[in-house]
Symmetry: C2
């Protein structure tokens, strides 16, 4: 933070996230050097802040006064936040069925939210809504922002900073393998591009493989990768993992290409494996993430089952915070709650705790 320069950047201190070593999951999986990149600890609770900081900085410099967006998830929260920080308006257009529980953070920052009749109901209707937004966004002062290379490639390149940081945080080696959740797919490409930049600059001693993880219920990339196809598929999304249900090819073909070019792989995981990984991260690592934020760990576990053996340090990106999905957070507690005891019972429950019963390590 400098007091001498009026920065043109809109920033809340995003990026520079911690890398912490696994205490329990890595040893259990036989991956001795497993690291977690804590992207869920960005200012608004997800890696999208790196994108939003870059894009809203660009919008403000360009004289835009109203940001139009279509995300009810982490991108929407990030844009609402950074627009408030920059003094820009933010209007977010949502599918007709968007649940109200996800909107609190956006509303708190003063964004205006609109559910659009038909948006999300069919591919054709959604395309019509996007076309209308793109048309209206051409007006002076407005801009449509979507966190994908297909729409906002410059700001998406802001995500390459994750790779740069990993190279600084893991000297002398690069990570051998990075596991990345696939939503739209752009994050895989940004990570691959970041390591490619380092290689071009002669700063990367080895090749880092990028592995993309998807729920079985949204298989746009993985089967295509396995079969050597060059174009991602479209899916009928059947996953419940919020943020990873992206059935159309926005950046999915880019992700497919990036995975192949780095020598990585595609991994499919069931929703239940994602929830298990979320639970294990909270209980044994002290890391509180939303389900999508745990997908990379579920993917690593599945890859190990299927024969993956690490050649060096492995990094899983944890992308979104636990508070983002309150229903999933309550499921983490798994029916546990506070019992009601008498003061005379304190001694008994402490003895049970000392015996390891009911403690976080006893599960």
């Amino acid at each position: 933070v400098s007091r001498d320069v009026v920065s043109p950047l809109v920033t809340l201190g995003e990026g520079g996230t911690s890398l912490v070593q696994s205490r329990a999951i890595g040893p259990r999986l036989g991956v001795p050097e497993l690291w977690f990149k804590l992207e869920h600890l960005n200012p608004t609770g997800s890696f999208k802040d790196r994108f939003a900081a870059a894009e809203v900085s660009r919008l403000r410099a360009a004289g835009v006064s109203l940001c139009l967006a279509t995300s009810s998830g982490n991108t929407g929260s990030a844009l609402a936040t950074y627009c408030a920080r920059a003094g820009l308006g933010c209007a977010i257009f949502l599918t007709e069925q968007t649940p109200a529980g996800k909107l609190t953070q956006m509303l708190a920052h003063g964004a205006t939210l609109h559910r659009v009749r038909g948006f999300g109901a069919s591919a054709a209707d959604s395309a019509r809504a996007f076309a209308e937004l793109a048309r209206v966004a051409a007006r002076p002062g407005a801009a449509l922002v979507v966190s994908a290379y297909a729409y906002c490639p410059d700001a998406m390149d802001g995500l390459k900073t994750i790779a740069y940081e990993l190279a600084l945080q893991l000297p002398p080696a690069q990570p051998a393998d990075v596991f990345v959740p696939i939503g739209g797919g752009g994050l895989c490409t940004a990570i691959a591009r970041g390591f490619a930049d380092l290689a071009s600059a002669g700063r990367q001693p080895g090749q880092t493989r990028v592995h993309g993880v998807q729920p079985t219920g949204n298989d746009t990339v993985v089967t295509a990768w396995r079969r050597g196809e060059r174009v991602a598929r479209t899916a009928e999304s059947a996953t419940q993992i919020s943020g990873l249900a992206v059935p159309t090819d926005i950046d999915a073909t880019r992700a497919l290409t990036s995975i192949r070019e780095t020598g990585g792989s595609g991994v499919l995981v069931d929703d239940a494996e994602v929830w298990d990984a979320q639970r294990e991260l909270a209980r044994t690592e002290g890391l509180y993430v939303e389900p999508a934020g745990a997908a990379s760990v579920a993917g690593l576990a599945r890859a190990v089952q299927e024969g993956f053996r690490p050649a060096g340090p492995v990094v899983c990106l944890l992308t979104g915070a636990g508070f983002k999905d309150p229903l999933a957070a309550e499921r983490l507690a798994a029916g546990a709650t506070a019992d009601l005891i008498d003061m005379a019972d304190i001694e008994r429950v402490v003895e049970q705790g000392l015996a390891g019963e009911g403690s976080s390590t006893a599960h």
Copy 2:
């Protein structure tokens, strides 16, 4: 992060929080150099992580296997998290009336929670519960942890790092004034001690005044400060600001002394002023904090009304994240929600947005 040393510290990357300059509130108040210290962006969403990292590191080094705690708030969440990280058990004893909504984060990390009959009902009953906990915590392997100088002074000194960071982040000046919320009171003392350390080391060119902010409904320190008293008062707590309702003198007399020694002041604010500050931070600064996290800003606004004039940079500590208090977060939206529109309405709502109607800057 070093790969060569097995650290005895239990860490999730707490501390090193950003300092961002005010865009809107400072200019409105006539405080040109107003800065926010983003303590709510610590790993579990509050400044208590600095305390928990220090204390849980100490417990693990001492061979403790079960941490006993009494907080249903940010300390409890921080301890549950760092205990999970360290592989320690964590048992949290709560007042009989603790609302279930605050417990999700602790349960997610596998802490066991116990509501104790009578605890919190009266001062005498609470003292009895504390005495029983202290007695049982003397067993080998157990330890009672309370985030106060009165109980855990070494780990409380972990909070001095906030002052050290401010000195690094605001060169060449120190902050002239720091506004700090008073819960138990220890944070005021830690900040004052941190700046005193810098002065002893010849590193502090000026005196930083520490100002303590309390809700009118929990006036243990402020009236005592105004009247020149040497001992904090006890209160019948009537504030709704979660985290600042601490009616007894835990570290309150320490806070009173620290405020006086630094030449600072005590400031009382109504709950409504705290909620207004919370709303203004979210809408105009992009900063999403819980009500207690906005108390320092409400205190600065009140101090300016009462004649306070800054002599240099002013820092407000934002102590806890917006997601910590879901009910307060919903109130931030103030009845706003997503309306339902037709695709043909998109053009109209964008025009309204460009005209500044309904945008975050129009409020």
